[in-house]
Symmetry: C2
Subunit: 253 residues, 2 copies
């Protein structure tokens, strides 16, 4: 552990917290961060004093409000979500199905917002959840609009199968991505779970780059898929405009 | 600056970002954090490598997705918001007015969620915005349910007036807080702006402690105030149940 720099050690304390471990004792933190108890104690004290961590009455630490306030400035996190939320709410009102907003981080999708449909398929998504790009509708959109190097690199790695319907053949993936670009929509049917289908469309930033994807997830048996496509595209287009995108001469994909 | 510890210097880089400064150059960061350019460069590199900061094509830094993912674990930030959002949406559907969720940090209210009513009063709230406790409905709720020491300390400081209707008299504030506890609701009329009124109610955690407040903000001329009270209380109670609160023998305040 001595080869890590001071910033790395401090950040390792924050990295000790995840969805499975949202509350940790000092001993937990020291073990998970690979720090001695005395180093962990010193760093946790500094983070708590600043407000990045908070300590409850039982001596358990969790992530603090001040870190959340700083993180709310992340353009791909809460800031994007703030622009998107009214459009996601409208999409939810129009469909009453699971509505999701995701961005790409490396070769994964990260969900930054979702509204759960009350009577819809049980989709186990939470804010901050990650998923590989090739299986989900949002992932296919983000991969299709990623640069050439990303797509080449992605096709060269083994494509994990989640169901027998997941795309695992690189040739089929390339054809699918071309179709996503051509139609402006990705449909992922039974590729994540046997009972669900998602329809996704790209969200563009002010410069026209695809910065996020919106999707609706419905039961696979649902016959309304064609009717969902315009609604999802409309929501994606609304968010894009909210981000400063102007259609101009560019064809909306 | 040499008297600051290594953790303090790293956190000062994060603290350089705020709502007025969501994107900063390395020079900006060095100046705002009070660091030499070389120290700022080293710390920013470590934060960027970890994902706490991201650098765009123009060399400008902003808060990164990974910090947002960690911050999403904050029980008083995104985690509380996740439990609350369906109830806030229902409250919005029922009222079509501005709906807000806030927590207390020291002597201030911090808004952690809001849904903007489309045809309602222009309320300039954003996630992470702060406001003193004595003027807003949510602030009065959080102050009324804060401990005795907080209330004593708060009354001893000067109470800033935002309009001629803001409570600035300590005696009137004490009476108002007693009324908030008795009725389970706070009504702040024209105390923040001349044209707005808010109705707020407390959200309780599993142990019965008040952890947040919900409010609806409407035009002051709106005659529906009495009708809003049960809706706001119902939403607050729903979120409290979602957090594990059980009414039991305790009177809901």
């Amino acid at each position: 552990m001595s080869d890590r720099s001071a910033p790395e050690r401090l950040l390792s304390v924050l990295a000790a917290f995840d969805h499975a471990h949202p509350a940790l004792s000092l001993t937990d933190i020291s073990r998970r961060a690979g720090l001695t108890l005395s180093t962990a104690h010193r760093l946790v004290a500094a983070l708590t004093s600043w407000g990045a961590l908070e300590r409850d009455a039982d001596g358990v630490y969790h992530v603090g409000l001040r870190l959340w306030e700083v993180a709310a400035l992340a353009p791909r996190g809460l800031a994007l979500r703030q622009v998107a939320l009214p459009y996601l709410e409208d999409l939810y009102e129009a469909t009453h199905e699971n509505v999701q907003l995701a961005v790409r981080d490396g070769t994964e999708v990260v969900y930054i917002e979702w509204i759960a449909g009350r009577s819809s398929v049980g989709v186990h998504i939470r804010v901050g959840a990650r998923w590989p790009l090739h299986a989900t509708g949002v992932g296919l959109v983000l991969l299709a609009h990623g640069d050439h190097a990303l797509q080449e690199a992605y096709r060269e790695r083994p494509l994990e199968a989640f169901t027998p319907h997941t795309i695992t053949d690189p040739v089929r993936l390339r054809r699918t991505l071309a179709e996503v670009r051509r139609t402006g929509t990705a449909v992922s049917s039974r590729q994540v779970t046997e009972d669900a289908l998602s329809v996704a469309a790209p969200v563009r930033g002010a410069d026209g780059t695809v910065v996020a994807a919106v999707s609706v997830v419905v039961p696979e048996a649902d016959a309304r898929t064609p009717a969902l496509i315009p609604a999802v595209r409309l929501a994606a287009r609304g968010i894009s405009r909210g981000l400063g995108w102007q259609p101009g001469a560019r064809v909306l994909q």
